[in-house]
């Protein structure tokens, strides 16, 4: 995949633990130690170890091994949250 966007956004990159508050509020459980398997490369790792990009309309978690999106979340002004987890083609 094209990594140029990621390189340009590197200064905005945080860790999955930066999204701990939002995820805890949604799931009512501490989520950063939950283990996810990357649907693209199969890496196993805690949510806290993923790369988080938060300077966008939504929040994006990327796999540090293959850089693909593991999860993206959008919290619109109305009280609902859109979550997508899995493979992106």
């Amino acid at each position: 995949m094209d990594n140029r966007w990621i390189e340009e956004s590197a200064c905005l990159m945080l860790d999955g633990n930066a999204m701990a508050g939002l995820m805890h509020a949604l799931f009512d459980v501490e989520m950063t130690v939950a283990i996810l398997e990357c649907a693209t490369c199969g890496r196993h790792g805690e949510i806290g170890s993923l790369w988080a990009f938060v300077e966008s309309p939504g929040y994006i978690l990327r796999c540090p091994a293959c850089q693909n999106i593991v999860m993206q979340m959008t919290v619109p002004q109305i009280r609902s949250t859109w979550i997508h987890a899995g493979r992106h083609i």
């Binding site: 945080l14 701990a20 805890h24 130690v33 806290g48 300077e55």
Partner: protein, 257 residues
């Protein structure tokens, strides 16, 4: 995708906003203050966790940021948040310029379970900080001291100048008091005459010197600006430290709801 939510130490806990009261404000450096906040619903945190702070305008506009807890879990009923004033920071400028003792602050926490260290997790412990990245690591050091942990700990701390070193006197005092703790400073911009610490950005040679006595079995916690965290984490991996033993917390320009 596989999700594993049930872990021994993870119990469901509703995360609710509460109103804290400022009981103490301490100027740490020119641009850094520590706020001690008394909490009506204080719960013991794990060193490395953070709180979300939320500000609400009279017209209803809300904004929030995450701030690492600086105090140890042994300090009951209150928490300390050490905050750097960012010139463009919506929340940090308010905290620095407006907040005084007796004021109220809305917050929720403690949050996070990944970037934490507790005494039972053992060591040896390598802590690497850049600037205000010292804050969650200071909570670990204070916890380490409070429980008199047997695991040796080494802190490598990068600051711009001598005056920018946060918790400078406390770190010096603890280093002298606890034989299991060593502190290595590096100053990247300018250094006083007679300075015997490092005087450059953290590099592989520095990491090797600091980390080597611990072998590859150490637990590393790195917190600071993204570039520093990247360099240190990659450096440790190249020194043979397994990635699973390295935990990072990068801080960016703003927080996350």
């Amino acid at each position: 995708m596989e999700t594993e939510l049930i872990k021994e130490e993870v119990l469901p806990r509703i995360l609710e906003w509460q109103i804290s009261t400022v009981v103490k404000v301490r100027q740490e450096t020119q641009s850094v203050k520590t706020f001690t906040l008394a909490l009506p619903n204080w719960t013991p945190h794990r060193a490395g966790q953070h709180y979300d702070v939320r500000l609400t305008d009279p017209d209803g506009y809300q904004t929030q940021r995450s701030y690492s807890i600086a105090s140890s879990p042994e300090q009951k009923g209150e928490i300390e948040l050490t905050v750097e004033r960012l010139e463009e920071g919506e929340v940090s400028t308010y905290l620095h310029d407006v907040l005084i003792i007796g004021d109220q602050v809305e917050l929720r926490g403690p949050i996070g379970g990944y970037f934490v260290w507790e005494a039972h997790m053992g060591g040896p412990l390598l802590l690497v900080a850049g600037g205000s990245g010292i804050v969650p690591l200071m909570a670990m050091i204070r916890h380490w001291c409070a429980v008199q942990s047997n695991s040796p700990v080494r802190l490598l701390y990068s600051s711009r100048t001598y005056e920018d070193i946060i918790y400078r006197e406390e770190l010096e005092r603890l280093r002298l008091e606890y034989s299991g703790m060593e502190v290595f400073h590096t100053l990247t911009r300018e250094h006083p005459q007679g300075w015997d610490g490092y005087t450059r950005r953290i590099d592989i040679q520095m990491l090797e010197e600091v980390a080597k006595p611990f072998g590859s079995n150490l637990k590393a916690y790195i917190c600071g600006p993204t570039a520093l965290v990247e360099d240190v984490a990659n450096g440790l991996v190249s020194l043979g430290i397994p990635a699973k033993q390295i935990r990072t917390e990068r801080f960016g320009p703003t927080g996350v709801p």
